[in-house]
């Protein structure tokens, strides 16, 4: 069979499957809003001594392409990191594995289908950039080449790299689950930081824009500061300069195409770890994801070793139903469900953090150990609200009496128990120190995290959205003690207990409404 045709059909099926998902539309909307915000100065790009480029085709194209490549190289990863997983879950993978398809071909096909999804978003943004220039009206002279070239030569190679990394993460046993979702953020952010530090080329093209625009600015303002920032709420640009766009030399183009080659290399590397859906080699993954009973295609059980003669059913009638809501019992069950299957090292890590937070000085305990304590269970919290969906137990649970009133609060309570237990060291220290404001901030954080997890789990139906958002939020807020977004209250200055209590209430209401909507019944 023609390989190009197979590649096309595989890519098409994956593409159609994903562009019909809400996550695709949400991400596209987010990317469009980002581009719109940058082009209409809701967010602003400031370069040097408070300069910005005149909104001509070159500047609009470049800043939208760069911001879109930075945004989609992070969020897009989470959108596309599911193609191999879907083949496993739907068992299509086993059908593909029985064909002569080579492992490298499969990895490249998956990379290509990921790329098609992300490239589609880039193309939509490219047309949006055109509209933005006309809308902005600062310079209506259209130059299609200058407007489009940053999308084609900056954003698309970035998408190729993101697509290949998503496939690599899916094929590496350690990274194909929630841990990989969390780890990718750190890979992405450290990649940007390192390239900024050493002024090296990066897939997102930020350094390329910075160098080119910086050179243009130096000509009109030799004293210009060597800085570049994309800001919301920071200092606006007060001066403009005309930037005529990238002068695409052969070496620059080659530099960008190099990222496409790197993407192909990553995809081929990924294929080394691909096990062709061999159930024996994916046993641990099977335990987690492939445990549903599918009728009537389910396997027929082999002859029972302990076969017994058939005999009448003897069931003792139930003495009685629980007269009142057995909330504690359900919450305990939910907590056991959360913790069951955690390895010894997880408990060892949690215990280490707890001990560290008990013996360290209070400021270190609150500003350091608490931050660690509240990222450690992220993969457990991320199951909240979506576990039933992931393991296909909705019909069993949601057909139970008062499932909405019983089970949902129990899940939340179990999540709160987890956050209070892992952060208990800091809570105890604050209580001993009679730092009541600190206690309140700690409590707000302990309530907020499971509420966010529950709401996102219920509405997204999966764990990925929470894993991505929470990791970014944790990194920007508590880790850097940024006021307003430090939900853990890691310092007195950055904590805001009242706000997070309010947000917690709103999130709980959101989770309730979401589950109620999904149940169809109330």
């Amino acid at each position: 069979m023609n390989r190009a045709y197979v590649l096309y059909e595989m890519g098409k099926a994956d593409f159609l499957e994903r562009v019909r998902r809400y996550s695709f539309l949400l991400t596209l909307a987010g990317a469009l809003y980002l581009g719109y915000s940058v082009a209409t100065e809701k967010m602003w790009v400031v370069i040097g001594n408070r300069y910005r480029g005149v909104y001509n085709s070159a500047w609009i194209g470049a800043i939208m392409a760069v911001s879109c490549s930075a945004f989609l190289s992070l969020i897009g990863f989470y959108v596309v990191k599911n193609s191999v997983q879907r083949d496993t879950e739907t068992r299509v993978g086993q059908i593909l594995a029985a064909t002569p398809m080579r492992k490298s071909f499969y990895a490249l096909a998956k990379t290509l289908s990921n790329f098609a999804v992300l490239a589609f978003m880039v193309v939509v943004l490219m047309f949006a950039a055109l509209a933005m220039q006309l809308l902005h009206a600062e310079n209506r002279e259209l130059s299609i080449g200058k407007l489009c070239s940053p999308f084609l030569l900056i954003a698309l190679p970035a998408m190729a790299v993101t697509s290949a990394i998503a496939v690599l993460f899916e094929m590496l046993p350690l990274l194909n689950g929630g841990f990989g979702n969390v780890a990718y953020f750190f890979v992405w952010s450290s990649g940007l930081a390192v390239s900024a530090q050493i002024k090296a080329s990066d897939p997102t093209g930020i350094q390329l824009l910075f160098r080119s625009a910086g050179a243009a600015l130096s000509k009109i303002d030799p004293s210009h500061q060597n800085s570049f920032s994309l800001t919301i709420g920071g200092q606006r640009a007060v001066r403009t300069f005309v930037w005529d766009g990238f002068d695409w030399t052969a070496s620059m183009v080659a530099g960008r195409l190099m990222w496409v080659l790197i993407a192909i290399g990553i995809a081929l590397l990924a294929s080394l770890f691909f096990h062709r859906f061999d159930p024996a080699r994916e046993f641990w993954r099977k335990k987690k994801a492939d445990v549903s009973v599918k009728s009537p295609a389910g396997e027929t059980e082999s002859t029972n070793q302990n076969a017994r003669e058939t005999r009448p059913a003897q069931l003792t009638p139930l003495a009685g139903r629980a007269a009142k809501l057995r909330f504690f019992q359900i919450a305990t069950s939910e907590l056991r469900l959360m913790l069951k299957g955690q390895r010894w090292w997880w408990y060892a890590g949690a215990a280490g953090i707890l001990i560290g937070s008990l013996v360290s000085p209070l400021t270190d305990s609150r500003g350091g150990w608490l931050v660690a304590a509240w990222i450690w269970p992220v993969l457990i919290w991320s199951q909240m609200g979506s576990r039933e969906n992931r393991y296909t137990t909705q019909a069993l649970i949601f057909s139970c009496e008062r499932a909405l009133q019983r089970q949902l609060p129990a899940v939340w309570a179990a999540g709160v128990i987890l956050s209070t237990l892992t952060g208990a060291g800091v809570g105890v220290r604050l209580l001993i120190a009679a730092d009541w404001q600190g206690v309140l901030a700690w409590l707000a954080g302990a309530l907020f995290i499971p509420s966010l997890a529950l709401a996102m789990g219920v509405w997204s139906g999966g764990s990925k959205a929470f894993e991505a958002l929470y990791t970014v939020w944790w990194y920007v807020g508590p880790l850097h003690h940024v006021p307003g977004i430090d939900f853990a209250g890691t310092t007195a200055a950055s904590s805001n207990a009242a706000a997070y209590m309010l947000v917690t209430t709103a999130l709980l209401a959101t989770a309730y409404v979401g589950r109620r909507t999904r149940l169809g019944y109330a």
Binding site: P296, G298, L337
Partner: protein
């Protein structure tokens, strides 16, 4: 004890009907819900199990409107869905304890019940093994056990014997028969032999509508005098299939013995005793012909 289904319809999108004007009145006993793939059985099961809301119509449980008060039904419901999952890190006891808690059962009596149910579905020996290591059939038996946890008055089982070995299938059929004396059991399947063995009533469903509702004997009466055994050369089989509805064929030394369902038998065909599969195929065929006309 009465479950009343009145003109229930389920529409997806603007004009796709999975179920249309479906009405049925059920008392204690086993109702076998038979129909081809895509007939609407699972949709009906989901609606009855309060997982999906009907687009039109009304379901009442002992006079209570289920749409308005779903918990009235959920409190007495045991449901084994067609597709369901389990939590792989829990063992069978822990999983059933969890569901017992969600169903609102108290600890001591649910524990005793779980032991009995695990024994009943022959999983006692493996009750401490993680469910992730269970085979499809073993998981199906866990599903059967959870459906019986709360001693349900209404037991809805959707394709329950899929994946079970012959012995477990017989055990489950016997169990359904024994349970049916004091409760309503709805057994949805496309395996006619399962229904033949257990059902006190049969409802045939096709393309979302009720084709027939009768006792097994009543259904068999509908095909009395319409089932024939006809011996033909192998080469004539294709032509015979085009002309007659054939429910079964057996190759023998004298040719192919075809089981023909018709009121106008072919020459040299001899009458045969009808079975439920004949009745099922004949009713569906008649219904399709009527719909096409």
């Amino acid at each position: 004890m009465q479950l009343l289904i009145e003109n229930v319809s389920k529409r997806y999108g603007s004009n796709t009907w999975a179920l249309r004007n479906f009405s049925l009145q059920l008392g204690t006993g086993v109702l076998g819900l038979l129909g081809p793939n895509g007939a609407g059985k699972t949709t009906l099961m989901s609606i009855l199990a309060t997982i999906t809301r009907a687009s039109e119509g009304k379901i009442t449980w002992n006079g209570t409107d289920v749409a308005a008060h779903p918990d009235a039904l959920r409190a007495v419901l045991g449901y084994l869905p067609q597709d369901f999952g389990v939590y792989p890190n829990l063992n069978a006891v822990e999983f059933l304890e969890y569901l017992a808690a969600v169903k609102g059962l108290d600890g001591p009596s649910s524990r005793r019940r779980i032991d009995e149910l695990l024994d009943l579905v022959n999983l006692t020996d493996v009750q401490k093994r993680p469910l992730g290591s269970f085979s499809g059939g073993m998981r199906q038996r866990v599903g059967i056990a959870q459906a019986l946890l709360n001693d349900p008055q209404l037991l809805i089982v959707d394709e329950p014997t899929a994946g079970l070995d012959p012995e477990e299938r017989v055990r489950f059929r016997n169990l359904l028969s024994e349970l049916s004396g004091e409760r309503i059991v709805i057994l949805s399947t496309h395996i006619v032999s399962d229904v033949e063995a257990t059902a006190t009533d049969i409802a045939l469903i096709s393309k979302g509508t009720l084709v027939a509702h009768a006792s097994p004997e009543g259904l068999l009466r509908q095909v009395e005098g319409k089932v024939w055994e006809w011996t033909i050369p192998s080469a004539d089989l294709t032509a015979a299939r085009q002309k007659y509805l054939i429910s079964n064929t057996t190759r023998r030394s004298d040719g192919v013995h075809a089981r023909v369902l018709t009121s106008e038998p072919p020459v040299r065909a001899v009458p045969a005793l009808p079975n439920l599969e004949d009745a099922y195929l004949y009713c569906l065929s008649t219904h399709r012909a009527g719909a096409a006309a």
